[in-house]
């Protein structure tokens, strides 16, 4: 898949290479595992096979069976062991592979990992990363396509990172591994093979810092992950008559409220895109936030472009009909502008 170019970030080191989104994650893992012996990585197929998405390629040969743990298909057990090891001072990364399977492990994430620090009065930290690949690709159907991130954002005690670019995968994954809290780190399957500029040197990206991917004056389009690219494509469709600002929120929790609100105050219009149903979604939360904090700046109602509320259908035409697209986003913007 080809992706539109994005503006380079001026604060980063100039030396950059083009590498893929999946390789950026491997670099982050390698660097962090070399840096900190407490970091280890567990998941189904991440050993010699290198991961279902090649997301662990080359790591096993360097770190071996103990720190690169191939697991059986046992999401709740693996996650529970990750919680226990984190409570005992290690920094596990548990790879769920397809995010859909995280449902098997939700109790350990929501009721254990997310609550221990609070309930223990700050005595026990749970520096656990849950890594998973989300999103619809190639008619994978209802068990291999979903984007559950709003569910995690609803849980106090969890952080949720949803990178859209290779550079962000690396910088945010390194931050996730160093974070002393449980972090849900979600990559998009459709982005794994996309390439982008990645700084050559050591860097991390703080959570809660959105990025303005494209500046504009007439409307703000905000999204995360693959939907950022759909929004950028929509902005191209709308140009030159409509000047759309596109914001990649990068982390769902914590949320960069200020960047978002500043953009809305500037453009007066907001379109939100999410690869999931609208009901109780992440973008519904943003919509509520903006209506509370920037209502007087709005020139039009906030509009959400979301997946249709159906389980993922198999047939490609049905799946395409279900998902947000650049054309649907552009149509929503045109409707707002009258």
């Amino acid at each position: 898949m080809t992706t539109p170019a994005i503006e380079s970030r001026s604060q980063e080191p100039p030396a950059e290479r083009e590498i893929s989104y999946v390789d950026a994650g491997i670099e982050a893992l390698r660097e962090e595992m070399r840096r900190d012996p407490k970091v280890f990585y567990m998941g189904q197929g991440i050993g010699p096979r290198g991961g279902n998405f090649r997301q662990a390629r080359g790591l096993w040969s360097e770190f071996g069976d103990h720190r690169l743990r191939d697991t059986p298909i046992s999401e709740m057990g693996t996650t529970g062991l990750g919680v226990g090891a984190a409570m005992a001072g290690f920094r596990p990364i548990v790879d769920i592979v397809f995010l859909d399977m995280v449902m098997e492990a939700m109790g350990q994430i929501v009721e254990q990992a997310a609550t221990v620090h609070y309930s223990s009065n700050g005595k026990i930290r749970v520096p656990l990363v849950i890594r998973a690949a989300m999103g619809a690709v190639r008619s994978a159907g209802p068990h291999h396509s979903r984007c559950f991130y709003p569910w995690f954002a609803n849980v106090p005690g969890l952080k949720v990172a949803t990178p859209a670019t290779a550079a962000d995968v690396k910088g945010l994954l390194k931050t996730a591994i160093r974070d002393d809290n449980p972090v849900i780190f979600l990559e998009h399957k459709a982005l794994y093979n996309t390439k982008g500029p990645v700084p050559a040197g050591e860097y991390t990206i703080p959570f809660g810092q959105a990025r303005v991917c494209r500046e504009g004056a007439d409307v703000t389009i905000a999204a995360v992950s693959l939907m950022v690219w759909k929004a950028l494509q929509a902005a191209e469709l709308l140009a030159p008559h409509v000047s759309a600002e596109v914001i990649d929120l990068r982390t769902v929790a914590p949320l960069d409220r200020e960047t978002l609100l500043a953009s809305v105050r500037k453009t007066g219009r907001l379109v939100l895109v999410e690869e999931g149903p609208a009901t109780c979604s992440f973008v519904s939360e943003i919509s509520a936030l903006v209506s509370e904090e920037a209502f007087d700046y709005l020139d039009a109602p906030i509009h959400r472009v979301c997946a249709l509320p159906v389980p993922h259908p198999f047939h490609p035409a049905l799946e395409a009909e279900m998902l947000p697209s650049p054309a649907k986003i552009a149509a929503a913007v045109r409707q707002l502008l009258g």
Partner: protein, 320 residues
């Protein structure tokens, strides 16, 4: 087995401390001043006492909703437990946790737990940490018969066995999961027989005989400590109180059954045996009981006089 008097009295002391702690908690709870829910360990004291006697402070324990006894036997001071269960700022979790969320990492105690079976994989995870660390720490997961038909039991024990982790899984089979009789919950009521299904030893022991528990647990913990991998220990026992404080505990079991198990009280059994064999006197036990009573009264007084947490701290510690 020859009975070591010092050991027997030390185990008795832990059991009577737990028993008196639970009965004092019951008394305070019934007076209406204590928030939340409590699940008492009365009748099962021999398990926590016999197992934890082998543990070092640096070893790990995960527990259950019925976990006051485990917390105490692992070394958390009674007053910190009492204050926590009362929701006081001086509790080991500052009143943020309560009975089902008692944590004390400084004693290797990784939590009582409101979710049945959840502590099993967490304990296995602590054992994984111990294994990665390379020392000789072990992790013990306590759980009831109510946990063994949950996927966390299967997945936690399976991974611990597959990876030969220094874990010990202690099932306190008290025959009822709340009101669900174990014989109705599963066709094979001997939990220990599931050990070999995972390729690990499964041992059954009279959970009301503290010396028997001590012996079996000692072997399992020594095996884990020396790299021999996990053991599943099933302690057949009984709670002679209701499921939670407020449950009369008689709707699903007969009074005769409860009375029969009360006669097998682990404290009384040990005491009678020691006195009958001339190894210890009634006076020695009375003195231990009195000392335990003083400890528990002091804990209760400490908790009663402790401040409540300040409401404006509610947002603290969501994140590290």
């Amino acid at each position: 087995m020859a009975v070591d008097k010092e050991l027997a009295l030390a185990l008795y002391r832990i059991m009577t401390e737990i028993r008196q702690l639970e009965l004092k908690l019951q008394e305070v709870y019934r007076s209406g001043v204590m928030p939340g829910f409590i699940h008492l360990y009365v009748g099962e004291e021999a398990v926590a006492a016999g197992v934890c006697a082998h543990l070092r402070r640096s070893d790990y324990v995960t527990s259950t909703h019925r976990g006051h006894g485990h917390a105490f036997a692992k070394g958390i001071p009674a007053r910190e437990i009492f204050a926590e269960i009362w929701g006081k700022a001086t509790g080991c979790c500052g009143g943020r946790g309560g009975s089902m969320h008692i944590y004390a990492p400084e004693y290797g105690f990784l939590g009582t737990n409101g979710i049945v079976a959840a502590g099993i994989p967490i304990g296995a995870g602590a054992a994984l940490a111990a294994s990665l660390e390379g020392g000789d720490r072990v992790a013990v997961s306590f759980f009831g018969d109510g946990a063994v038909n949950n996927c966390a039991f299967h997945e936690g024990i399976n991974l611990a066995a597959a990876w030969n982790l220094p874990a010990v899984f202690v099932c306190e089979n008290n025959m009822y999961a709340t009101e669900m009789a174990f014989a109705r919950a599963t066709r094979n009521t001997d939990v220990s027989t599931r050990g070999p299904a995972y390729g690990i030893p499964g041992v059954q022991v009279d959970g009301n005989d503290v010396l028997a528990v001590y012996e079996v647990a000692g072997q399992a913990i020594a095996r884990a400590r020396s790299g021999g991998g996990p053991t599943l220990v099933e302690c057949k026992t009984y709670r002679t109180v209701g499921h939670h404080e407020g449950d009369p505990g008689t709707a699903y079991r007969t009074r005769e059954e409860v009375e029969a198990w009360k006669k097998r009280c682990p404290l009384r059994t040990l005491r009678d045996r020691m006195i009958a064999s001339g190894l210890a006197s009634e006076q020695e036990f009375q003195r231990i009981d009195e000392e335990a009573g003083a400890l528990v009264r002091a804990a209760e007084e400490f908790a009663r006089n402790s401040p409540e947490p300040s409401p404006e701290t509610v947002l603290e510690h969501v994140f590290a």
